[in-house]
């Protein structure tokens, strides 16, 4: 992955074979050894997005009266891909850079220059157009950074320590009759982000709440576009789980041959060893376009040129989002769980989400962002020792298919005692005292937890991450030629249950207290200490998948 050089042919210099054929041979070597790296490319960066969708950010969230202003926040983190991951959380010269390029935000205004009425109002009135509430549509947005608890477990400081960027979004942006900046985009930002940090995208929308005209932001979308350099893709059945065995991700080089003139031969243009002939050899490779990356059927090109054909990817998957106007699930509302049955509500409660697999990627990390944000309940954490949450991330097949089955990629089960063994970070967003005027104990002054959900370990052995986990896990739709896959953890005698026919990612998030989700005082025996304990914070939890994605194209791709 190096640039080629040449000797300059200054006036008066004797023309030698090296002046012409050294650069030609160097070019041929680069093309023949899969050696075209990001240093050779003008577009040497991939990009990914942190995409966050909130069904509704309502005035209800900002309505409790506390001393400190309430903000809404979503955390995320950007751990390096496994081959660059440091157990000490230390960057070095090989750690790829992350550069924040763009922030955008949008919400539904019903295609009018108006605010929309909050769901605090009686049923049937929510969402009504309020043309007099435009001045309440001013917000502030910031991206904050904090060090992660896993690297300083003695710390009880859960506040963000620094600001990456912030901006005010005045109401005028969303008020024009003939032109509204909705979506609004802030770009270019050019802010360097640091791996091994937690980032919190914070929105101050206190203006939504007015006792006379409370308004709401339906279908709130926040998106951060971040750049990451192109890197080599994952290869080898001994290094990657579930990768097609027919190629193992390995790259086959092209053959580009330069015919060198022999000593004493006549300098020619069009002969086999001629200058023009050999320039044309290189030119034809460029005309046919350089190859790398993956097809939609998880296949790779017959021969390739690009050494760096992959980049970083994050898929943010929401669960438990939009659950009632309150959008919070607490011990006090345990009777409103999906499978409540009878008090004290001991059955498993679950939400799920599915993401169709479009193009192949290899999953390197899975992170869980557990939400306890709730201004009205002051974000009190569950205290029941028997309260347990479980998450599985996997691949599935069954969408108009011949078979219906799933394969684990990552799993985690935790309770109040074991959560520390999976905790990457704790973050505090909402300041303020307890629901009854009692301050939260310092040990639980946080309302977000980030947990590492370990990837299953196959015969390839251990991978790298915040906590022990398996090697990267390939996911990709496939034609029958790609059904043979490398070994996986939690497989069918080592082989994936999906047999290479995965169609979608599946996330299942369960919570249960065998003693009861209700609080012991209200509905005994009940596991919770008070009705204010928050099982799912405002607008739900997030599963963050960190993966390596590949350059892809359209053209003559197999469309499956």
């Amino acid at each position: 992955m190096t640039k080629i050089t040449r000797k300059d042919l200054a006036r008066g210099t004797k023309l030698t074979r090296e002046h012409v054929f050294d650069p030609l041979q160097a070019a041929a070597n680069e093309l023949s050894n899969v050696n075209i790296g990001r240093a050779n490319l003008i577009n040497s960066w991939g990009s990914f997005r942190i995409n966050i969708h909130i069904p509704t950010l309502d005035a209800r969230y900002f309505s409790p009266v506390v001393d400190d202003p309430i903000r809404f926040a979503i955390p995320f983190t950007l751990p390096p891909l496994q081959e660059y991951f440091s157990a000490l959380g230390a960057r070095d010269e090989f750690t790829p850079e992350l550069i924040l390029d763009e922030f955008q935000m949008s919400f539904d205004q019903r295609a009018e220059s108006a605010g929309l009425q909050s769901n605090i109002k009686p049923a049937g009135q929510e969402g009504l157009l309020n043309y007099d509430a435009l001045d309440q549509l001013g917000f502030s947005v910031a991206l904050l950074e904090k060090e992660q608890w896993i690297y300083d477990k003695a710390s009880t400081n859960y506040d963000p320590q620094s600001e990456i960027f912030s901006t005010d979004l005045p109401a005028e942006l969303f008020s024009g009759v003939y032109s509204r900046q909705n979506p609004v985009i802030v770009s270019p930002l050019g802010k360097v982000l640091t791996p091994y940090r937690t980032y919190m995208l914070v929105l101050d929308a206190n203006s939504l709440y007015d006792p006379n005209t409370p308004i709401t932001l339906p279908s709130l979308t926040l998106s951060l576009k971040i750049r990451h350099p192109l890197v080599p893709r994952d290869t080898g059945v001994a290094n990657v789980q579930n990768i097609p065995t027919v190629h193992g991700g390995n790259q086959s080089p092209d053959t580009v041959t330069i015919t060198l003139p022999t000593a004493g031969s006549i300098i020619s243009a069009d002969a086999a060893q001629g200058i023009q002939t050999n320039i044309k050899t290189i030119d034809q490779v460029l005309q046919a376009k350089l190859r790398g990356g993956y097809g939609k059927d998880s296949n790779v090109p017959v021969t390739e040129h690009l050494a760096d054909d992959a980049s970083y990817e994050v898929v943010m998957i929401p669960v438990w989002a939009g659950y009632s106007n309150n959008a919070v699930l607490t011990a006090g509302t345990a009777a409103d769980t999906p499978d409540a049955l009878v008090a004290p509500y001991t059955t498993v409660q679950q939400d799920a989400n599915s993401v169709p697999i479009a193009w192949p990627m290899t999953i390197h990390h899975v992170l869980l962002h557990v939400n306890h944000q709730s201004p009205s309940e002051q974000g009190l954490l569950p205290t029941s020792p028997t309260f347990q949450q479980s998450v599985s991330v996997g691949i599935g097949t069954g969408l108009q298919a011949d078979n219906h089955t799933y394969q684990d990629i990552a799993n985690l089960t935790w309770d109040t005692a074991t959560v520390v063994g999976a905790t990457v970070d704790r973050a505090l967003n909402i300041q303020g005292s307890g629901a009854n005027g009692q301050p939260k104990a310092s040990s639980d002054k946080y309302d977000w937890e980030t947990l590492a959900c370990p990837i299953v370990t196959g015969t390839q052995g251990a991978g790298v991450g915040y906590y022990p986990q398996g090697k990267p896990f390939f996911v990709g739709k496939a034609s029958s030629a790609m059904w043979g896959r490398s070994n996986v953890g939690n497989g069918n005698a080592g082989k994936p249950w999906t047999e290479g026919a995965e169609q979608f990612l599946q996330v299942n998030w369960s919570l249960q207290d065998p003693v009861g989700l209700s609080d012991v005082a209200a509905i005994p025996p009940g596991g919770a200490g008070t009705s204010n304990e928050v099982y799912v914070g405002y607008q739900g939890n997030w599963v963050q998948i960190v993966a390596k994605k590949h350059i892809i194209g359209l053209g003559n791709e197999i469309k499956i």
């Binding site: 640039k3 040449r6 990009s47 990914f48 479009a358 350059i551 892809i552």
Partner: protein, 294 residues
Amino acid sequence: MSTREIGKGLTPQHANGCTIDGDLIDISMADLVHSINNIPPRHLKRRWMQTQFVNRIMPVPYTAPTLVQGSLPWLPMKNDSLGIVGGVLPATGIQNEWRNKGTHVADYGTVQLTDRGGYAWTQALYFETPAIITGFSARMWQPSIYAWDNDWSYHVDPPVGKTLGQSMDDFFIEITSDNPFNIENRRLNDIDVHKLRFPVSGNMMATNLAVPTNDLSVASLPMRGLQLWVNLDNLCIPLHENSRIRVSLGIPRYAANGGVDDASGWQGTANIYLPWQSTSFATTLTVLEPTGRV
């Protein structure tokens, strides 16, 4: 044959019988080195990368004793005086009477909600660089055997033109691009994707595969009824730079007609629940964005 790629066709051509010019050779070699060291995107067969926008709404069951589920983020497709606080039109009037094009909710009885009828969940996105929409997925299912009752069919008191047991065809998907010259006029939106009046029975997960051969370690709870999954793939819809797109799902709302009021699975008998509480919703939009430079 000219060397069209090296030096973009400007590299000197060398031919037998022509002079061996050191300057021309030097230019050719400089162009060659530049072409290998600064490869533009047009020399790459693949130069896009995917990103996915994943959304979820899990409404509280209508049987819940305490928590209430309003319509948000589902909002009426039509804007009129009935949709305004106080019912008074603004001085400038309604700017966009319809937020979505080509929608239809079948007549139902004598009291049709002409002011609303359809509800849409709309997400807006901006793409500063050219992009390609390649896929959109809408999955709706009842993740519990105890809650959410949409059976995806018309019921005993169906809308006009529909029959009992007929597969629903009143759900729609739309992706539009704002007109770059008149960005707030929805009448001028380009329709990129428009899927309407299709029987949902053709988009179900296989009915005989309810129980998976192998489940995840955190097993899926038994589901209630069928799962609807509309997966639009290989769309290949180009978006110009600085595009604003709007992605909408549309569901109907049938008014009470004074009769049995059991139009379809969207609302159940006597409209015991409303459409946004009849099932849970998950969507994924897949977009390709180009690789970039510093």
